[in-house]
């Protein structure tokens, strides 16, 4: 089973990397790009034998407690197959 965990800064948190990328894109002539926010994702492979329910629970736990910091970031878990 494979899963993907997305982590990104909360909308209220300044993202200077995203702003710099947006500025660079505008400089390259992509004038329609109004804003960029940069985040990251983790591709995770689960050990065989885990049920979908167990996997969902464990993924939510690691996404909340380890992969993201709830003070500044939001996360989203997707089970891919």
């Amino acid at each position: 089973m494979k899963a993907r965990v997305y982590v990104a800064m909360k909308p209220s948190v300044l993202d200077p990397q995203g702003q710099t990328i947006c500025h660079a894109l505008n400089g390259l002539g992509h004038k329609k790009i109004a804003a960029v926010r940069q985040g990251k994702y983790f591709d995770i492979t689960l050990a065989e034998g885990a049920t979908r329910e167990e996997a969902a629970q464990e993924l939510d736990e690691i996404a909340r407690d380890v992969l993201s910091n709830g003070v500044i970031e939001d996360y989203r878990v997707e089970i891919l197959d």
């Binding site: 209220s12 300044l14 200077p16 990397q17 710099t20 380890v66 992969l67 910091n69 003070v71 500044i72």
Partner: protein, 224 residues
């Protein structure tokens, strides 16, 4: 008195802190390895700067799960004095012992220079030997020192007089120019600047001693 200095894999200011405590402060310093479940017989703890566990994922994100952090949580809960410097500050926020978070500098650049800090409160075990409003010259060296918290938390910090230091010229974008904060009980402090790098006359400034001497003076009376 006895000051414990926590060593994570990747800590790199642990020996500087040890030197400042033993050679400049003339107190006993001892290292505490990250997998120690106990702090031993210490009067105060310093979490030094560096890159704990490589700081992969986020700064301090892995360090918060180390066995020594469980001992530090208990020590802090019982009133023990805990000072987090730079990466130590990041670890304390990740561990939930201090509010807010430290993110990438707004300039996106690592900043390494001496800055002017204003002492925002002298009402703490870490700052009582300095005067409120006093300016201290202490170096910063970080890529992720932008202090961030929601407005309510920032207001609460101000209302409770828990902002310890403010930058005179903000080097990293920190909200309300915050360079250091205290917890609610005032026995845990985190700061991005490095007082241990301004403790010896050779370093050009000894302003860091105001903080270390405050800590030493307070630890003697500490209940733990």
């Amino acid at each position: 008195m006895n000051i414990g200095i926590v060593v994570f894999p990747g800590s790199n200011c642990d020996h500087d802190a040890w030197y400042a405590v033993s050679e400049n402060l003339h107190q006993h310093a001892e290292f505490i390895w990250h997998d120690s479940a106990s702090l031993g017989n210490v009067d105060a703890v310093i979490l030094p700067g560096g890159f704990s566990y490589g700081d992969y994922l986020r700064c301090g994100a892995i360090a918060k799960f180390s066995p020594v952090m469980r001992a530090i949580r208990n020590f802090a809960r019982d009133g023990g004095l805990v000072l987090g410097i730079c990466n130590g500050f990041q670890v304390l926020t990740e561990a939930g012992l201090l509010p807010g978070a430290l993110v990438r500098n707004d300039t996106l650049k690592f900043v390494c220079r001496t800055v002017a800090l204003e002492v925002a409160t002298s009402n703490s075990p870490f700052t009582h030997q300095a005067a409120k409003g006093q300016i201290l010259h202490i170096p910063v060296a970080h890529g992720e020192g932008f202090y961030i918290a929601d407005e309510r938390t920032l207001d609460q910090l101000e209302t409770d007089d828990r902002i310890a230091f403010r930058y005179r010229e903000n080097p990293n974008g920190s909200m309300r120019h915050i360079a250091g904060i205290l917890n609610e009980q005032r026995n845990v402090m985190g700061m991005m600047p490095h007082p241990e790098r301004a403790a010896d006359p050779l370093m050009g400034s000894t302003d860091g001693l105001f903080i270390l001497q405050s800590l030493a003076g307070a630890a003697v009376q500490s209940p733990v």
